[in-house]
């Protein structure tokens, strides 16, 4: 075998259980999926919301570090979080967090071997979307009541 030029080749080289070499097919990428299908749309949304949340946790870090830093630092966080941009960011974070959490439960069920048939997959997908909307609104109702 020659030297690899692209490390994707490493995932293509496999062995059958008898030890013989085989070139495995790569899993298909975005171009083969119909993104209007709920299954593929929710799948990539899980990754996107996960990445979005990774950036969102920086807000949590800022909030905690500022609280430890003192009243002035904390006032700056509060100014940002109650600004137009801050509220938009927090609202997006809330929706992304609830989606990733609920769809994560869906993934755990799949990992345990449940819910693989097509009707159940669509039903659980719809439940995730409805649950995300309900919990996002509920979280903000609590926030608005607490704020008022």
């Amino acid at each position: 075998m020659s030297i690899m030029k692209d490390n994707r080749e490493a995932t293509m080289a496999g062995r059958r259980s008898d030890g013989s070499a085989v070139k495995r097919p790569l899993s298909p990428h975005l171009q083969v999926y119909d993104m209007l299908q709920m299954t593929s749309a929710l799948s990539i949304s899980h990754r996107i919301t996960g990445i979005a949340w990774s950036f969102g946790v920086v807000l949590l870090v800022w909030w905690l570090v500022a609280a430890a830093g003192g009243p002035e630092a904390f006032a700056r966080v509060q100014w940002f979080m109650s600004s137009w941009l801050g509220l938009l960011g927090l609202f997006g974070m809330t929706a992304a967090a609830w989606f990733h959490t609920l769809n994560g439960v869906r993934h755990l069920a799949w990992d345990a071997g449940y819910g693989y048939d097509i009707p159940t997959t669509y039903r659980s997908g719809r439940m995730v979307l409805i649950g995300t909307a309900v919990l996002t609104v509920l979280t903000w109702v609590i926030a608005v009541i607490a704020w008022a």
Binding site: D18, G19, P71, F74, I142, A148
Partner: protein
Amino acid sequence: MATNEHTAETVLRSPLGRVRGLGSAKGGTHHWWLQRVTSIALLPLTIWFALAAASLAGASYIDTVAWIGRPWNAVLLLATIGLTFHHTASGLQVVMEDYANVEWVKVGGILAIKAICMMLALASALAVLKIAV
């Protein structure tokens, strides 16, 4: 040593090694499993934190610090911080592994992700401890 009829290649791998299936990575399912374990642990913690954070909206500096400093809140916050950044680092690592095809970009990216997540986790944990202790 097994030869096979499919290719002329010699298999430099013991039957036990093939059964274990760990390959050169040595890790097996460890990374995948820890992602699941942290996600299960984060489920109650995230629900708790989202609702608690919402009820702290508009709270004053004194009220917020008092809330963070309560023993149970501080313990749950520390657990949430550790697990969140562990889960974040392992999730972003998979994203790098999937999309970065140049080896040094992939390895450098994963190391950077781990370093940033570790620093953010330590900073958050120190903040909670400073308030609570």
